[in-house]
């Protein structure tokens, strides 16, 4: 904990220092707030160990807090940059102001007195701040901090973790959840579906929030509950297939999250759900035949997508999916402007820029098309350029240019991390995810009953899968999906959900440790007798 504290402190000093060199002024107050966040996380430790007599896995919690601290640091760095925070014309103004500040700094440190005097009259007349455009103010007062959602969300996340811990360590609750698994699933689906169909726009709800992040936990609970109930029956197979009266409810429940997320066209979440469900099923039923079926199913689905990505017609799948598949394979090779899934975007680009390429001039069309394409793939390509620039140890915190990567505080935070801290920082993140996997599976292994075992495996799988899908999307290992990196990314509901999942994992771990303690005691008693 104190190592995280110390490292985070150094990180913030680095960002503030390089902010000075890069021509912007990171807010000290926000830095203090972010470092102060580590106090409640420390309090969580104390609360768990002293108050709750927690004997379970601390590794998972430590790794998660490391990821959280790293994420906060990167968000601090990004939002300190006036260019990253601004939109529209203010953005280029901020960029120019930064550039002018750096030029003035350069003159102060790099020019001899002769040149200074020539340009400004006298060597001491070099101004320290540019006169052109004043930088947008990112100097927060204490009151701003209190009002900021960025302050409440992590605190809400810690609270949610504690609540989840309290709730899920309770036998009665767990039993109730397992009993009513199917109903929970259905009860979650209905309001969720209504919410989505009625209020969402482009996968977001009321501005930029995604309040349905939390339903992931409920869906997972219901799936694990049902599986724990019927896995014995699913083992009895004919031709490698389980009896349909046990299998069909699973197909239904597995399809449940797909429907709303399809409506949201949130394919990243769909992919993660699908992967985790399949994984839990295979683990619980443990039949090699069905594993083969699962692998075949994945391969067929993937192949179908792959084939469909070159298809002429839409097949009901949104254009965005085709775009992302194509972009994944050929990031820097523009498709023909006549491609059906690309044409509307291309035309929108022309409209936006008020361009009318001559239809008889193939060269001009090609040029406009590639302009439009490079505009469209700006985010992934800027991200990869950043990864490449970062090298092994990175440019240094605050010294790279992650502000050129759109949304690099949430979806593309891994690109920002690897630009500024390089392969080394990336390795630290991957190791932390690895620790989460090992810790989570250890919790799952030591769980005594099937429900908590599957729940722990599912939560671990969910967190790790999300991490891999997110980072893989940045690095072109997988198509870009637009899901967040758990604990690291900026994003209210996603952070709260991730910490909730962590709370459940800790609760299960706590239960395991109590059970084993109890067993040890009985054995000791038996030995005494």
């Amino acid at each position: 904990m104190s190592a995280i504290f110390g490292a985070a402190f150094l990180g913030y000093v680095a960002v503030i220092w390089s902010g000075g060199l890069r021509g912007y002024n990171p807010s000290r107050t926000v830095a203090a707030r972010d470092i102060a966040f580590l106090v409640p996380t420390g309090a969580v430790f104390f609360w768990l160990t002293r108050r709750q007599r927690f004997r379970g896995e601390m590794l998972v919690l430590t790794a998660a807090i490391f990821l959280f601290a790293f994420g906060q640091l990167m968000q601090y760095r990004l939002f300190s940059d006036p260019e990253y925070g601004a939109r529209g014309p203010a953005r280029s103004k901020a960029r120019e102001a930064k550039a002018q500040t750096v030029r003035l700094l350069n003159i102060q440190t790099g020019y001899d007195d002769g040149k200074k005097a020539f340009m400004f009259g006298s060597p001491s007349a070099v101004p320290s701040k540019p006169a052109v455009a004043k930088l947008p103010v990112y100097e927060y007062s204490f009151g701003d901090i209190l009002k900021s959602a960025n302050t409440y969300i992590p605190i809400a996340a810690f609270l949610f973790m504690a609540i989840a811990f309290q709730v899920f360590k309770n036998d009665t609750v767990l039993l109730w959840l397992q009993r009513h698994a199917l109903i929970i699933g259905l009860a979650t689906l209905l309001p969720f579906a209504i919410l989505v169909l009625a209020f969402s726009a482009e996968g977001k709800f009321l501005g930029q929030t995604t309040p349905w992040e939390g339903v992931k936990i409920l869906f997972l609970v219901s799936f694990a509950g049902m599986l724990a109930d019927t896995y014995r029956h699913l083992r009895l197979t004919r031709w490698g297939l389980p009896p349909s009266r046990y299998l069909l409810p699973f197909v239904v429940i597995a399809a449940m999250p797909v429907v709303p997320f399809f409506a949201l066209s949130d394919f990243g979440q769909m992919m993660v759900f699908f992967g985790v469900y399949l994984m839990l099923y295979v683990i619980a039923v443990r039949k090699t035949g069905q594993l083969v079926y699962a692998v075949v199913l994945v391969a067929v689905l993937f192949g179908a997508f792959y084939a469909a990505s070159t298809a002429k017609a839409g097949l009901g799948i949104p254009r965005r999916v085709y775009f992302r598949f194509y972009q994944w394979q050929h990031t820097w090779e523009p498709p023909s402007p006549d491609t059906w899934w690309w044409k509307p975007d291309y035309e929108r680009y022309l409209q936006l820029k008020k361009l009318q390429p001559d239809p008889n001039d193939p060269q001009e069309i090609r040029r406009r098309n590639s302009e439009a394409w490079f505009d469209k793939v700006l985010q992934p390509s800027q991200g990869l350029f950043g990864v490449n620039e970062g090298g092994i140890v990175g440019e240094g915190l605050g010294l790279g240019f992650p502000e050129t990567v759109p949304i690099s505080d949430s979806d593309f935070i891994y690109a920002a991390i690897s630009e500024e801290t390089g392969l080394a920082g990336g390795l630290a993140v991957l190791l932390a995810v690895g620790v989460l996997v090992f810790g989570g599976t250890a919790i799952s292994i030591s769980a005594q009953d099937m429900f908590t075992k599957l729940l722990a495996a599912g939560l671990t799988g969910f967190i790790a899968f999300q991490g891999v899908v997110n980072i893989g999307g940045v690095l072109r290992l997988l198509p870009m999906t637009g899901i967040t990196l758990p604990f690291v990314s900026h994003g209210g509901w996603s952070l709260i959900t991730s910490f909730g999942m962590l709370g459940i994992l800790l609760a299960i771990s706590h239960r395991n440790s109590i059970a084993s303690l109890y067993l040890e005691r009985t054995e000791a008693n038996l030995a005494v007798r």
């Binding site: 190592a3 995280i4 985070a8 150094l10 000093v13 960002v15 220092w17 060199l21 590794l59 430590t62 960029r95 002018q100 750096v102 030029r103 003035l104 700094l105 350069n106 003159i107 440190t109 790099g110 040149k115 340009m119 400004f120 701040k129 540019p130 083992r235 683990i283 443990r286 990031t331 040029r367 590639s370 302009e371 800027q382 350029f385 990864v387 490449n388 620039e389 970062g390 440019e395 240094g396 915190l397 050129t404 690897s418 801290t421 080394a424 390795l427 630290a428 190791l431 690895g434 620790v435 090992f438 599976t441 292994i445 075992k453 495996a457 790790a464 893989g472 290992l477 084993s516 067993l519």
Partner: protein, 629 residues
């Protein structure tokens, strides 16, 4: 005469993979888009970087520690209250092995993620022409680097800040790059813009101009201050040269070289443009479209007429040297000892053997039977036609090769690479921007004696640049008769490319050229000097066909043939030339002046040359001893 020899076609205008509007071929664009990139500093800014290293080290060691602990506790002790065998097969604990496999799966996934990360770090940019690297030139980071960096200043030969060719200025705290000479020197300085690329010195010396100069600064800035460059140009002479040629109102060029290193003292070209014009998008696009089209290119201000290239590099424009080329033929004659020949210049002209077209002199002048000295002084075409035939193709070709002239069509359409001397520049960049097109003749076996005769006085197949003629004058003026490459830098060593003629031959040639100024065709133009400054030189009057342009600057179509190809109307222009050196006894400077369609050499070009010599003298370049600093 085909148009190909007059105007060469520029390369295909737009590359398919360009995201922006450029007017060059893919190859040009590759260099060009590179040319504005700010060279990223190879060092890191010290303090925040060290803090970052410590931060990452702590992070990694902590995570390694946790990973080690997680590894040790990966298999918790199995629950002791195991059920009997039959039930255990269906019990929860049997699942554990599958959970372990799940763990293996995730480790594999994480390792492959790390592998992909390493790919983008180590291998993605290893191939220079990969799709990744081509796309990376459009990286938005480049703009940030270019905007916040300070390239070096470009100072003139005096090294004084007020005489800078390129410098930064501060408008109430806004720092912008400034070109104080503006249009007068834009073909030397070039310009630099993120979208429209760079040209001239900005492009040729960009590596030097962005090379970190100050130690303290490079530890504190992501885009450190670049090295300054002191070029050999004299600001006063450059201004004078530009105002003189601009005053003609015609396309013109002037080039002054300082001997013995052939440092460029002034290089002016008209029409010109203000380097700030690049920020006016419409005007700039119009200008570049004009330069893009080979038919309108001869009108373009983007052409550096002193070199025959575009200011951005690429493309080439040739001129016919006219009588100034007699300097070359006379040099060959003197060096091979063919000086005693006397030929007759008649009213009906000289008809070369195997031809029925006579060669006459300008305005039908008749010089009678004369020797080399008189023929050179009065610039007798018939004499040099006969002298050229007497010398023969082989001799002319062997001497042409010494000056790097191409003597057969097979060697054409190339640029004279590795001509410039440089200390600080990158040879490739310098050649790309400043290498003049290779001057060319046609002395192959297929050429008739009529064509050889024409080429002997600078007509016919002769295609030259102003630079090649200035270098010819400089070679004549050099005491050892050696061919020396030009340079933009003060204090560079003399780059002798090879011997041209012997030292006594050069001295003899200078006597001939001096007679032109004192008693010959240029006497009236130089009369104002009243013998205070001596000089040598040669006038030239060259005919060439050019497109006929309408008011909008579009070439006028004459007719369209049955294949649908347009044929354009042409008109005949008479270019005015003067090349020479000063002072005559101990040459310090060499120069070449061209005024397109300026008429006789003695009328338009020679007076400009005389004023340039006077200006150079007033600046102290013509005194004996070391040149002024």
């Amino acid at each position: 005469m085909s148009f190909g020899s007059v105007i060469s076609r520029s390369a295909s205008p737009v590359s398919p993979d360009s995201g922006r509007r450029y007017f060059h071929s893919a190859e040009t664009q590759r260099r060009w888009t590179n040319s504005h990139l700010y060279k990223r500093a190879s060092h890191r800014m010290l303090i925040p970087f060290i803090l970052t290293i410590i931060f990452v080290t702590i992070g990694i060691s902590l995570m390694l520690l946790l990973a080690w602990a997680a590894w040790r506790h990966r298999n918790p002790a199995p629950a002791a209250n195991e059920a009997p065998d039959v039930e255990r097969r269906f019990g929860p604990s049997e699942t554990n092995q599958w959970i372990r496999w799940l763990r293996v799966l995730f480790v594999c996934l994480l390792v492959s993620v790390l592998g992909f990360h390493s790919y983008w770090v180590f291998w993605a940019d290893s191939n220079k022409d990969s799709t990744f690297n081509r796309a990376k030139r459009l990286d938005a980071r480049n703009l940030r680097l270019a905007e916040s960096g300070l390239k070096g200043w470009v100072l003139d030969r005096s090294g004084k800040l007020e005489n800078a060719l390129i410098r930064y200025r501060s408008d109430a705290g806004v720092i912008t790059r400034e070109y104080p000479l503006g249009a007068a020197a834009v073909h030397v300085t070039g310009y630099s813009d993120f979208i429209y690329g760079a040209g001239g010195i900005e492009s040729a010396y960009r590596d030097w101009l962005t090379k970190p100069a100050s130690t303290l600064n490079r530890m504190q800035s992501p885009t450190p201050v670049g090295e300054d460059l002191r070029v050999s140009v004299d600001v006063a002479l450059q201004r004078e040269a530009f105002s003189l040629i601009q005053a003609t109102g015609k396309p013109a060029a002037a080039l002054v070289l300082l001997l013995p290193n052939n440092e460029v003292l002034a290089m002016a070209s008209a029409p010109s443009f203000d380097p700030r014009a690049i920020t006016l998008e419409d005007a700039w696009l119009k200008m570049s479209e004009q330069a893009e089209d080979f038919r309108t290119q001869p009108l373009s201000p983007l052409v550096n007429r002193a070199l025959g290239t575009l200011v951005t590099g690429g493309s080439s424009l040739y001129y016919r040297p006219g009588s100034t080329f007699k300097v070359f033929v006379a040099a060959v004659a003197i060096d091979t000892g063919v000086t005693a020949e006397r030929f007759t210049c008649r009213g009906e002209g000289f008809t070369p053997p195997g031809s029925n077209r006579p060669i006459r002199d300008f305005g039908g002048e008749v010089h009678g039977t004369i020797g080399l000295a008189d023929a050179f002084r009065v610039s007798c075409n018939q004499y040099f036609a006969q002298l050229g035939l007497k010398l023969g193709k082989e001799r002319l070709a062997s001497y042409a090769a010494r000056l790097r002239f191409a003597a057969s069509p097979a060697q054409t359409a190339a640029r004279s690479l590795d001509l410039w001397q440089t200390l600080h520049g990158d040879k490739d960049h310098l050649d790309y921007v400043f290498a003049p097109p290779i001057a060319r003749m046609n002395l192959s076996s297929k050429v008739t004696s009529y064509d050889v005769a024409l080429q002997s006085f600078g007509q016919g197949y002769d295609d030259f640049s102003v630079m090649s003629m200035a270098l010819l004058a400089a070679t004549a003026a050099s005491p050892d008769g050696a061919f020396v490459g030009p340079t933009f830098e003060v204090g560079s060593t003399r780059k002798v490319i090879g011997p041209f003629i012997s030292a006594p031959s050069a001295a003899q040639l200078r006597v001939l050229m001096r007679s032109v100024v004192e008693r010959g065709t240029a006497a009236s133009a130089f009369a104002s000097m009243g013998g205070r400054i001596t000089a040598g030189g040669k006038t030239g009057t060259a005919d060439r066909d050019v497109f006929d342009y309408d008011r909008q600057g579009k070439p006028v179509v004459d007719y369209i043939d049955k294949d649908g190809d347009a044929h354009y109307k042409t008109e005949s222009w008479t270019d005015s030339w003067f090349i020479g050196f000063a002072p005559a006894e101990d040459p310090k400077i060499a120069f070449a002046v061209l005024v397109e369609n300026g008429g006789q050499g003695a009328k338009a070009a020679a007076p400009i040359a005389a004023r340039l010599v006077a200006k150079a003298a007033s600046l102290g370049y013509i005194k004996s001893g070391a040149p002024p600093r």
